[in-house]
Amino acid sequence: MSEPMVQVHNVTKVYERGKQQVEVLHGLTLDIPKGDFVALMGPSGSGKTTLLNLIGGLDKPTSGEITVGGNRIDQLGSGALARWRAHNVGFVFQFYNLMPVLSAEANVELPLLLTKLSAAQRRKNVAVALEVVGLADRAKHKPRELSGGQEQRVAIARALVSDPQLLVCDEPTGDLDRKTADEILGLLQVLNKEHGKTIVIVTHDPKAAEFAQRTLHLEKGQLLEQAA
């Protein structure tokens, strides 16, 4: 068995909604090996996005342990967690979440402002990332000048540019038509198979899940099964 990339052990997450406490994840345990491509599926409110946020270091568990790439990220403080995210994980969102005031290449360059790379090296890395997603010719365009599929490719390039080993994608095709969605998922597959990225996606779409190596189902905050 290959080395684990993500280890989630007995994780519980409780949100406070006003005076009410809502337990979203109940003692969940999960291992994702390096180079895996996992789809998380389940009904709304099952805890998919919460789990994804915890794996990506966007939130902290109420209890339990989360280890990603050998780092106990549940123990990191806010600043350390931000630095960890900058170097170890790439994010892709359903609505792309690009900066509308920046061109495609500037959007992709944004994470590199946190590195010590020179401006020339940053430009080179950006060009490579845009080339990988097939958007080298749209580098100067602003997000509003791109189609939904192209915006998502820019978002993927932004997630890739700092060369993280883990990509977390929250409904990456939720806002796209079938054909474009398949192209994006195909691109993720290439990143997984050819570049060795570990990918975790959350999706409602069974067709999208077919692109993953395996699918995990969540319901009411618990992992139901593990399908090959």
Binding site: M99, L113, L114
Partner: protein, 387 residues
């Protein structure tokens, strides 16, 4: 792309809004520059260093006349070499109904006390020997196209003639200029003979004047002479207040009221309004970008970095507007100085600029502080979920 480039790009994401806000900042700092320079002139303390002339007026008010008979006593004070005197005439150039800066005076004494005015000697002689004589500065002559030898109809809003008419007529006998650029800027003045005024005014005001000008000997102690003069006339019917030329000009305008207080209240109102306008713009700008700020944090920018971005935007906005406003104030001040012939100095000195920069920093913190703190505190998962 750089962090600075990112800040500027965000600043101009809504161009119309940013430009309108920028204009309000520019206007506020233009007012700040002009008013603060007025304030710094009025709040400066008495400075006798280097004074070559002293002004003596009635202690009660500039408008209370003093007897010309004080001249010999003033001239007897050690360090005083010559005494001139001036009376406000309140002239109005009749054809255009334009107020003039016009005084009555003794020509010879004035000539002796103010060597800075350059005029041919024969014109000084003509002024001294022509009872209806009038001399004017070069700027004034050029403004109205006056030539030596012509008659100039002038009305006085204070002094009617004995026949009841406010319309006076003078013979233009000389046009003077300044000895250097500084004095040339002040040549918007007009002078007539004190003797003619004494003789012709309806109220029978004779032998009295608004103020004396003491020309001091080189190296004389101006402060000591000032004290001597005021002590000399203490407890007399004509108590005096003696000050330098600069302080006299300032106290003349101060009669309007407490200029410093007025300026401070105006500036308070201006900056309070600016605080609301720019503060609201910044708050709105951050509110619109909550998901984007959350994405920045997602990418690995720390809470402090995100706070810094918002503060930098506020700073860039206020800095740009502030510097443009202060520069415009400098230009406007120079124009006012030129238009008033140097009578009204609105120079933005180093102190005003430093105060302006301090105001820029404080204003940036005030308008950017709360939105920046909000940006710093926002939780990624809540912001991305639109909560």
């Amino acid at each position: 792309m750089t962090r600075t480039g990112f800040v500027i790009a965000n600043l101009f994401r809504k161009r119309v809004r940013t430009i309108l806000t920028l204009l309000s900042v520019i206007m506020a700092f233009l007012l700040f520059g002009l008013l603060q320079s007025v304030n710094s002139v009025f709040s400066s303390g008495a400075d006798f260093v280097g004074a070559t002339r002293l002004f003596v007026q009635a202690r009660v008010s500039f408008t209370t006349a003093l007897p010309v008979s004080m001249v010999p006593k003033l001239e007897a004070i050690p360090g005083v070499v010559r005494v001139a005197y001036q009376q406000w005439f309140g002239g109005v150039w009749l054809p255009t109904n334009t107020p003039l800066i016009m005084f009555t005076l003794d020509p010879q004494r004035y000539h002796d006390v103010y060597p800075e005015w350059k005029m041919p000697e024969d014109q000084w002689q003509a002024f001294e020997h022509t009872r209806t004589g009038l001399i004017v500065g070069r700027q004034l002559a050029q403004q109205y196209g006056w030539k030596v030898g012509q008659k100039v109809p002038i009305s006085s809003n204070i002094w009617p003639q004995k026949n009841g008419s406010k319309a006076w007529q003078f013979d233009l006998v000389g046009i003077f200029d300044g000895k250097d650029a500084d004095w040339q800027k002040r040549t918007n003045l007009a002078f007539i003979q004190q003797d003619y005024f004494d003789e012709a005014n309806q109220f029978g005001i004779k032998g009295r004047t608004n103020f004396f000008i003491l020309k001091l000997a080189p190296g004389a102690n101006a402060e000591a002479i000032s004290k001597t003069v005021d002590a000399m006339f203490e407890n007399s019917p004509d108590e005096t207040k003696t000050q330098t030329e600069k302080d006299f000009n300032i106290s003349f305008v101060k009669q309007i009221g407490d200029i410093g207080l007025i300026v401070r209240w105006i500036l308070f109102a201006v900056f309070f309004t600016l605080l609301l306008v720019v503060g609201n713009t910044m708050a709105q700008s951050v509110r619109e970008r909550i998901p984007e700020l959350a994405v920045l944090k997602t990418l690995g920018f720390s809470d402090g970095s995100v706070l810094g971005f918002v503060l930098a935007e506020a700073f860039a906005l206020v800095l740009l507007g502030g510097l443009v406003g202060l520069t415009l104030a400098s230009i406007a001040g120079a124009m006012v100085e030129k238009q008033t012939g140097g009578q009204f100095l609105l120079e933005l000195d180093r102190g005003v600029w430093l105060l302006g920069v301090a105001a820029i920093v404080l204003m940036s913190l005030a308008v950017g502080g709360l939105p920046a703190l909000r940006a710093r505190r926002l939780k990624i998962v809540d912001a991305l979920a639109g909560r």
